[in-house]
Symmetry: C2
Subunit: 504 residues, 2 copies
Amino acid sequence: MTFIDRGVSDVVVIGAGIAGVKTAIELTKSGISNVILEARDRCGGRLYTEKLKSGVDADLGASWFHDCLDNPMLKKYFESGKIKFNFDDGRFSYFNENGLIDDNEKLKPIANEIKLYLASLYDKLTPNEDISVKEAVYRYIKEKRYLLTDYQVKYIPQLIRYFEMWIGSSWEILSGRSISADAHKGRDAMVLNGYQTVFNCELQELKDAKGKDNISAFIKLKRIVYKISWNEKSQLIEVYSKYANITEVYKSKYIVVTVPLSVLKLSSGEEGSIEWVPPLPASFTNSISNVSFSNLGKVFFEFPKCFWNLEDDRLLSMAKVEEEYYEACRYDKEDLCTYKFLKCRQDVPIRENEVPNGLDYTVLFMNLAKPTQKPIILALTSSPLTQYIEQASSNIIFEVFKPVFARIAGLPESSIPQPIEVKTSKWSNDPFARGSYTGVTIGDSYEPFLEEVLNPNKIFDGRGRVRFAGEGTIDDGNGCAHAAWNTGLREAEIIKRMINRAKL
Amino acid sequence: MTFIDRGVSDVVVIGAGIAGVKTAIELTKSGISNVILEARDRCGGRLYTEKLKSGVDADLGASWFHDCLDNPMLKKYFESGKIKFNFDDGRFSYFNENGLIDDNEKLKPIANEIKLYLASLYDKLTPNEDISVKEAVYRYIKEKRYLLTDYQVKYIPQLIRYFEMWIGSSWEILSGRSISADAHKGRDAMVLNGYQTVFNCELQELKDAKGKDNISAFIKLKRIVYKISWNEKSQLIEVYSKYANITEVYKSKYIVVTVPLSVLKLSSGEEGSIEWVPPLPASFTNSISNVSFSNLGKVFFEFPKCFWNLEDDRLLSMAKVEEEYYEACRYDKEDLCTYKFLKCRQDVPIRENEVPNGLDYTVLFMNLAKPTQKPIILALTSSPLTQYIEQASSNIIFEVFKPVFARIAGLPESSIPQPIEVKTSKWSNDPFARGSYTGVTIGDSYEPFLEEVLNPNKIFDGRGRVRFAGEGTIDDGNGCAHAAWNTGLREAEIIKRMINRAKL
C-alpha cells in the first residue's frame, strides 16, 4: 500500500454533495484554502440525475425545491433561467380497490383533521412521548368515531399513508409527532431538467471561485475516508482516505463533515465507516443513535404510451384495507382501545423468495407525462418496499407494480403495456448513502443530535475544528437540498470567523 | 309610565341567547336564583331559524358546529340524535367570468401559500402592526411574482376574497393578521334541521332545571334594558328595562351581560344602548372602541328547480378582476410597490339609488340542494353588500344575484327561473344585533378588550359583580355558537365560586 502525504490546507471538506460544494464556494471566495474528498466516482451526492430513453431527465435523488416561500436557492435558479420548474400541486387522485375515489366521500378533510388532532395531541404530551402514524390514525378513529361514516373509517387509514412518502418510512415506524409538526413553507417546485443542473451550476461557481476548470485539483473523487485523527503535536486534523491501493493523508486546521447521518451511524468495520481518533464523545454517538435514516424510493417507468389520466399531477394507490382493524373500528370493539395490535412498531418485512404485491403498499405516483409530454410515471415508495425494489430487476419491479397500474388505469393487468425502461434509485444499498435522507421514526429525538452537531466543542481539542453540514444537520428544512446548501453556508461562515479570530 | 319593582334575585342575565341560557342552566342547577331579560320578542339571539316554503329549515343566524375536534356541544348533540348534521366540505368550485375554473390553474395551492406568507409576515411584526387582506395579497404578489403565472396573478386576489365570508367584512377592511391566525380545529358540521332545535334543547334543559315549563316566569321577553346602575346603599345592581309603557327594575348581586359587543359599543341615545351608572371605566370603553363587528349576510333562495351543479358543496363566484391592479402586478409597476391605491382601508360604499351587480362582489354559495334534495341555495355575503341586501326587497335581491346565478349555471340570465322565495338575514339592521358577530377589521386590538371583559374588576364596587358572556368574550372559538355556550358555562362557574366564597 502506497502512502502519500497530501499536505496541509485550511479546511478539508468530506463529501462533494451540495453542502460540501457550497462550503467550498464560500471558503474559496474568502481566500481560505480547501480540498474536497468524495468517496464516489462522481460529485453531487444525493443530487443525481440520469437520462431516460426518451431523453427526459430522471432525478434519482432530490426532485423538488421545497418550501418555496423560504427557499434561498429557488429565487436564484428561477432568475438564472437555467432550471425548468413545475408546480405539481394540481389534481391529486386517490384510488382504492374500486378505482378512483369520488371527492364526495370526503376523505381529504379527514386527513387534515387528523393532522390537527395530532397537533393538539402532541401539545399535551412531553417531547419524548410519541406514537406511530398508524397508531395515531386508529386512536383518532376511536375518539372521533361518531364524526365518521363507515366509508371513512374504512379508507382513511390507508389514505393517511401518503404521509409515508414525505419521508420514506412505513406508517408502522413513522413518527406521528413528525406529521403534526409539518411546517411546509409554501409550495414545492419540481425540477424538470434535472436537479444535477442545479448542482452543476454550483460546481461552476466553485470552479470560477477557484479560478480553474480542472476540478480534480480541488475535488478528489474515489477517496474513501476511513479515519479522522487529531495530531496534538502538529495541532492539525489528519484525514485518511483510501484511493485504489493508495493511502492518502490530508491535513488541515478545520474539517467539514458532510457525509449522510446514516454513514456517521455506521459501526467500525462496516463499509464507509469512519474511525475517529480520539473517538467521538459518548454524548455525540449516543445522540446519533436516537436519530434515523429513511428509505424514500423512486422508480421511473417509461412506457410506449400513456394509460393513466393525463390531467392528474399525483395519483395515490392506497394499500389494501386491513379488515381486522376495520371491523374493530367499525363496531368500536375493545381490542381497538388497547391498541394491542399496534405495539410492534417495526416494519412488516417482505418475506424471502416472495414477490410483493404493490396493492399491499401505499404508492404515490407523480404523473410526469403531464409536464414532459412523454409516457413517464414516477412511483415513490417507502420502507420496506423501497429496499426490495432497489435490489430487484426491472422485470420483477414491473411485476410488483403491474396490479397497481391496472388499478389507476381502470384496466385489466393484461392491458398494461410492458415498460420501455424501468429506472430505480439505489440509495438504500449505496454504502455512502445507506438510505435516502434523515427520517423521523417513532421515539427519535432529533434535538439532542442537532445540539451536538451544531456545537461540536467536545471533539478533539474542544475548539470546534470539526464541523458538520448536510441535510440532516439543520432543523429548518431538514431533509431538503436547500437546507443542505444552507448548512454549507453556515459552516463556512463559522470557519471564516474562527480563522479571522485566530489571526487577531 | 308605570314603574314596577321586580324584586331581587341572585343574578340577572341580560340576553336570552345561548350564552345567557347556558349561564342560567348552570346557575339554576346550583340553586342560584336568576332571571333573564331579553329585548326581543323571542329567545335564541343569533340562533334563529325560519322555514322556507318547502319546509326546509333556514338558519338565518348560526349554521355550523365549528371546530369539530374541540366542540363540546357537537358530541352532545350528535349523541342526542336530535340534530341532523352535514359536513359540507366536499367539492368546492370556483367561478370567474369564464365560468368554472379548472383545478389545473392551481389557484388553491396559492391561497394556502398566501396564508403561510401572512403567518411568516406577522411572526416578524409587532402585535399592533396589521395590513388589510387586500394589501396582503398584493404584497405577496409583488414579493413572489416570479413564482406566479399571469393567470394566477390575475385571479388569485379575487379568489382570496373567500376569506371575506369567514367574517363578513370586505377585504378592504379585513385584517390580514386574522387570516394568518386561522386556528380551525377540525371540520365544520352544518345543522340541517335548524340550529334553533339546538337552542330549544338548551331551553328545555333550563325549563327542566327550573322545574316548570312556563318560561315567561324566568325569561322576560321584550324587556329592553336601558340602564344598569349600582346602588351603593343596598349593595345591589339595578337593571332598568322598558316593556311597552312599563318601566321595571330588576335587582341582583350579580349580572351577566350577554348583549352583542356591537350593542355595548352604542353611544348613549342610540336604540338599544345601555347607560351605566356610574359609567363603565375608561379602560373598558377604550378597549371596546378598538374591536369591531362584522356583517356576514345570508340569503336563502328557493327555486322551482335546480340549475346549478348538484355535486358541489360550495360554489364561489369571484368578484371581477381589478384591471388596474392586475396590470400593475403583471408588469411589476412601481405603483404596486408603493401600495398607494391600497391606503383607503375602508369599504367601497354602494352608491345610492344604484342596484349593485353581484358580479362586483365575491359571493359564496352553499349548495343546500345536495343535503336537502330541494332546489335551495344559500348565498353568503360580506360588507357592504350585506347591509344593502338586508334592506332590499326580494325582487331587488334577485336582480343583484341574477348575473351571479347565470355565471355558476353557465346559462344566460334569461334562463334563470324566478325564485319561489327569497329569505334574508337582517342582523345589520337589528337594533339588538347591529351586525352578525365579532369581527377583525385591520388595526383592531382584541386582546385589551378580552382582558377587560374577563377581569371586570374596575366596574361598580370592584368585586366583579358585572360579568360578560357571549361569542365575542372569548378567544377560543370567538364568533362561534359553541364558544358563546362555553362563556355561559365560564361565567356561571365564576359566580358560583363568588357566591360560595361570600357564604364563608
